[in-house]
Every structure is written in C-alpha cells, then in structure tokens.
C-alpha cells in the first residue's frame, strides 16, 4: 500500500469516528434550531434547518424557570468539584506516600467502593438524608458524591507514579508531610487534578436519579431533573427538548475546552523535569 492510500485510509477512519461521536450532537443542535413548520422525523433527515430560529431557546426559558435550575446545578457541580479535588488528592497522597497502620485496608475499601452500584444503596442513602433532615436540600445532592472512590484511586496512581526519590529528597531538606504534599507532589499532578475536576463536574452535572429522589420541591431541582419537564405528558415538542439539551451540555463543553491544556498533560505526568 502506498503512503498516500495509507494516509487517505487513516483520514477516512478518523472522519468516520468523528461523524459517529459528534453527529448525534450536531443533530440535536440542528433540531434545536428548526422552525415550527419543519418535520422533525423526516426521512431522509435534513441536517440544515430550513427556517432556522433561536426562538426555541427563549421558549425553554418561558416554559421552565430554567435559569433557576442552572443556578442550582452550578452550585452543586462547583461544590462537588472542590470537595473532590481537595478530598481525593489528600486521600490519594496519604495512600500513596504516607506510612500508617491499615493503609492497605483503606486502599481496598476504595477499590471495593467502586464495585457497589449507586442504585443499590440509593434508598438507604435517602433514608439517611431524611433521618438527618437534609432531604430536599442541595446539600443532600452533593454529599454522596463529595469524594468519589474512582477519583481517590486516580490521584493515588498519579502520586504513586512520581519517583519516590523526589519525596525523599524533600524529606532530607526538612519538609514535613504537608509541605511535601503542597509544594512538591501536588504541582506535578495538575493533569490528573484536571481529570478529577472534569469527572466530578460531569458526574454532578449529569446526575439524574439521585437528585430526583432526594429533591421534592421543584424550586430546588437541578437542570437535568428540571429539563425532564420539557417532555410533556401528552405532547412533547422535540425542538424544545433539543434546545434544553444544548443548554445542559454547553457548560460541559466550555469546561472541557478551558481545561484542555491540562487534560492532555496527564499522559506524561510524573516525569522529573531536568
């Protein structure tokens, strides 16, 4: 096979994958922009709206207090990100570098926690929230996800991949554990911190079942729960649903692009800089 055909093949494949992963999103975007007279389910589908309009986005705001939901979601997501970044890096560092009794046991607890599906403990969690009178509050939405086990393990791996000598050198220089954590270890795992931040944000932003169960008052709803109202009981307008989805996804895309720089750094992390 000549070099040109190889390149051609490679690009065809790349384009195909791009179409598969971005296609549905573009489709949703195009539906959100379609005017009232257009067929949503037409075959073959028309990608370009014939009567493009931004009206569907304003209509979402008229049908629902969507900005209230966005504000609730933002608070939940930011709290989850901060708690996860702080909690997971502290726990990850302790598990990777500090010596204490029960370290192995603690580590296996985190691994085991990964195996428990959230749905299985949801009712128990709900009863717990109710018993401390936190049900129907945003605090209850944040609490169960405040330090994700997966995030702790990610940080554990990132810290563990740093050469031990680095830590020992700092120790010889007289740095205590806290200084070694904040000055030496943490600055070189920024990539993983970004990964944890984005995972935590996505998890909190996209979560549906738990907020639905723990919240009762529609005024407290997060965006994913509130947007469900767009699916009318009797009549659903697909354009509105699509516009709502775009509103829900936009912050995730913005976050990803703003953290992109760090996101891809995770790969060659842990290398000692000369």
């Amino acid at each position: 096979m000549s070099r040109r055909t190889k390149t051609l093949l490679r690009y065809t494949l790349l384009l195909l994958i791009a179409a598969i992963s971005i296609g549905p999103f573009l489709w949703q975007l195009s539906t959100a922009l379609k005017g009232a007279g257009e067929n949503i389910y037409s075959v073959p589908p028309s990608f370009l709206p014939a009567e493009p309009t931004g009206g569907n986005f304003t209509r979402v705001g008229e049908v629902l207090p969507v900005w209230g939901y966005v504000w609730n979601s933002v608070r939940v997501a930011l709290a989850t990100v901060v708690l996860n970044v702080v909690g997971a890096s502290l726990a990850g560092y302790a598990l990777a570098r500090l010596r204490f009794r029960g370290r192995r046991a603690a580590l296996s607890v985190f691994v085991l926690a990964l195996l428990v599906p959230g749905e299985a403990v949801m009712v128990a969690l709900f009863l717990m929230m109710r018993s401390v009178n936190l049900h129907d509050t945003l605090v209850a939405v944040v609490l169960p996800g405040m330090v994700g086990a997966l995030n702790v393990l990610l940080m554990y791996n990132a810290f563990g991949a740093q050469p031990r000598e680095l830590d020992e050198a700092a120790m010889i220089d007289g740095a205590d554990a806290w200084q070694r954590f904040t000055r030496v270890a943490l600055p070189s795992v920024k990539g993983t911190v970004a990964v944890v931040a984005i995972f935590a944000f996505m998890g909190a932003w996209d979560d549906f079942l738990w907020p639905l169960i723990v919240l009762s008052d529609p005024a407290n709803y997060t965006l994913t729960v509130g947007l469900e109202y767009l699916r009318g009981t009797f009549v659903g307008d697909q354009r509105l649903i699509a516009a709502g989805t775009i509103i829900a996804v936009a912050p995730l895309i913005a976050l990803f692009f703003s953290l992109q720089r760090y996101f891809f750094r995770g790969v060659n992390e842990g290398a000692v800089k000369g």
Partner: protein, 432 residues
C-alpha cells in the same frame, strides 16, 4: 407522550418497596391508621403530587387549589410535580422513607405495590359512598387482585383512535378512504402493502403486547387474577398472524425491540403506516411532523371484543397522612365532575365521572379534527376497559416482548413463546 418506558426500573423499585416499605414505621404515623372510615373537617395542610403536569397546566392546578382552599377554610395544599422520568423510583423511595405526599397521582400499575405495602388508603373502607361519583369501570381500575378495596380515585382517562398515513396507503395502491376495520382486513392490507412496495413500507411498528392480545380476544389472567392465561388460542393465533407479517416485511424489523414511543416516532417519520394512538397525539403530529399531519387518516380501533382499551390515571391518598380527611376531600375535589371536565378542556383527555361524557363537548363535533377525534374517542370509552392487569409491570412487559421477538425470528413457535412468557410472568407474580 407518556410511555411505559418512563416508568423505568419499576421492577427494581417495586422490589425495594416491598423489601423496605413494610418494615419501616414512618414518622408521624397514627394519622389514618388501619381501616375505618375517614371523616372530619377538611382543614389541614397537605401536599399534592402530580406526574409531569406543572410545565403546561400550572394555571389550571393553581386555580383548582385556590378554589379548594377558599371552600375549606383552614385547608392548605402544597403542590408538587414530578417529571416524567423515574416516577416509580421516586414513589417507592418516598414510600420507604414515609415521605409519600398526602395526595399522589398514580396509574393502576403504580398503585399496586403501594397498596400491597399498605401505604395508601383503601377508599371503599375510608370513604364509603365515594364510588358513586365515578363510572364503574374506572373505579374498578384501581382494585388490586387478591385484596378487597379500591386504592385510588379515578382521574382522567385516555383512549384514542388509530392514525394512519394516507399517503403511504395510496402509494401501496390501498384505498385511504376505506381503512381496515377488522384484523383480517388489517393483516391482508399489511401484506399487500409490503408486496406492493417490495418490503419498503411496513404497516405496523410493534409486535403485539398485552393490550393487543386483549383486544384480539385473549384473556390476560384467570378469574381470580392469580395466574396469567394469555397463551390461549386467541393469543397464539395473533402471534402466528404477526409472524406471517414479520416474514413478509409488513412489520418493521425494529418492532422486535421497540415500544410505543419508538413506534410513534416511526409513524411520524413515515416508516410505518398504521399507529394506534391517544386522542392528544394529533397535537404531537402537528408539532413534530407537520407534513404527516396533513396526510393523517383517523379510524376506529380494531377489536375482536368490541371493547377498546383505556388508560387510567388516579389519585391515591397516603395511609400515613396526618390529615387524611383533608387529603381525601381534596382528592375528591380534584376528581369531581366539574374539575375533570374543566381539565378535559385544557387537553384531550376524558373525565372518569358518571355522566360527564354526555356533555355536548364530547358528543357533538365542532368541525375541527380535534373535535372529531374527541367525539370518536368519547364514544369508544362507553365500552372501553383496561386490558393491562395491574400486576403486569414493566419487567413482565419486557419479557413478553422478548419472547415474542423469539417467535418472530422463528427461534420458537408462537405457542412455545407465549407458554414461556406465561410461565415466567407467573413466576414473577409468585415472587411478588
């Protein structure tokens, strides 16, 4: 469009409920307690939960609540509304934690686990005489097999005609002005359509479910509601006919796995020509498929029994309510004839109160398509019944679909597939 799929994970939810619901004494018990009539003045504070009605009918419900509070000094109603998705999960979590709202919107299959766990009032006992206001069929819709009593007030009903795509009928050389009126005609025309379009256009989008089997004349359960019996001669015959259709391409390939929503979307995309629907679906077509709307034909539901299917919504009263008298009075107020008729003017649904359907609004066409569908559907309700047994949950619905898919693919005979489905459903029934 409310769909069976929106009651996702109902089986899991029901299991959780039966496991935890009975054992947990909710705080603030004592209210209604066990048995006995509930009476007294309606002057308490209660919560009222609807299922996905706030976004569009907020003004209507706020008005109803204000009117009730005016008529009953001291009464206070806090209105909650749950989104479509995850409703069964929400109910079971609330029931387990003792936070079930005082008045709660349920469908027959949702009230069943709540009744089993003793979380909702038996209205025959609590409010003797209340039954008289509703049609007998609707009241019976909220009974639970194996238990005496009725566990929710009947609220709005849904039924509808069959919609068909006139353009697709014409393309296949069928007469769009005389759509099929019997199963034989439907199946014959479906085969013709498949042949004329070389398998390009299918008539049908769904394999038969429990409702279709019922309409065809199969008995879903035995008299006492203890065993499933839909593997009878009528059931098997229907699946055999569908197998022929499937082989001929008169049934879309996706039908093996798709539910009502999927078939509805395919109808709107013009992939299938025939779709049983609800009266309000006309509005869906107008919104999402304007071109189809111009072409849509409307005809009567086909049955072998002479009785169409109806969907039922109701209002249950929590057995743990601290203000059972207010809760029951409010549920009766929302479901009274005047309020149900007013709601029917907001959206194409039908009241379950006696005599309401005699109103000219439901008997005289006003020249619009909506009016035509409304009158036809209301006439159909006179004899309509619910073909879905309340114990037939999502899990059973899915396994029936899977077994029928095997029959369509030829992996099992129709008889074998239905026998297996009945056995598995019976096993689930015994597990409770």
């Amino acid at each position: 469009m409310r769909t069976p799929a929106t009651r996702a994970a109902a089986a899991l939810a029901a299991a959780v409920l039966t496991a935890s619901g009975c054992g947990l004494a909710a705080p603030g018990t004592g209210g209604a307690g066990e048995g006995g009539p509930v009476d007294g003045p309606a002057d308490g504070a209660i919560t009222f939960q609807t299922w996905n009605l706030k976004a569009e009918y907020e003004d209507f419900f706020t008005g109803v609540i204000e009117e009730f509070e005016r008529a009953n000094p001291g009464a206070q109603v806090r209105w909650l509304d749950q989104p479509a998705e995850g409703y069964a999960d929400k109910l079971s979590a609330d029931a387990a934690a003792g936070t079930l709202p005082d008045v709660v919107n349920v469908a027959p299959d949702l009230v069943h686990p709540l009744a089993e766990a003793g979380m909702v009032l038996d209205l025959d006992e609590a409010r003797p005489g209340a039954a008289g206001a509703y049609t007998a069929d609707a009241w019976e819709g909220f009974t639970v097999p194996g238990r005496d009593g009725t566990y929710a007030y009947p609220w709005y009903l849904n039924t509808g005609p069959v919609f068909y795509n006139r353009a697709l009928f014409e393309e296949a050389g069928l007469d769009p002005d005389s759509p099929p009126t019997t199963y034989d005609e439907l199946f014959d025309q479906a085969l013709e359509m498949a042949e004329a379009t070389d398998g390009g256009t299918a008539m049908l989008g769904q394999t038969p479910g429990i409702i279709d089997l019922g309409l065809y004349g199969s008995q879903a359960m035995n008299e006492d509601g203890t065993r499933f019996t839909f593997n009878d001669a009528a059931g098997v015959e229907m699946v055999e006919r569908y197998k022929e259709l499937y082989d001929a391409g008169a049934l879309v390939p996706e039908s093996l796995t798709q539910d009502y929503t999927g078939a509805g979307e395919q109808f709107m995309s013009g992939a299938i020509a025939w779709a049983p629907g609800s009266a309000y679906d006309l509005e869906n077509f107008r919104t999402n498929a304007p071109d189809l709307y111009k072409n849509v034909g409307i005809t009567e539901v086909i049955t072998n029994t002479g009785r169409a299917h109806m969907y039922l919504q109701g209002l249950a009263v929590s057995a743990k309510s601290e203000e059972p008298a207010t809760a029951a009075a409010f549920a009766e107020f929302v479901t009274n004839a005047a309020n149900q008729e007013a709601f029917a003017h907001e959206v194409q649904i039908f009241p379950s109160t006696k005599g309401s359907l005699d109103d000219p609004y439901f008997t005289e066409e006003d020249g619009t398509d909506e009016g035509r569908v409304r009158v036809a559907a209301a006439a159909q309700l006179e004899s309509a019944t619910s073909y879905t047994p309340v114990v037939f949950g999502d899990q059973m619905q899915n396994l029936l679909r899977d077994e029928i898919a095997l029959a369509m693919r030829g992996d099992k005979s129709p008889q074998q597939a239905l026998d297996d489905a009945v056995d598995r459903c019976n096993a689930l029934l015994e597990e409770g």
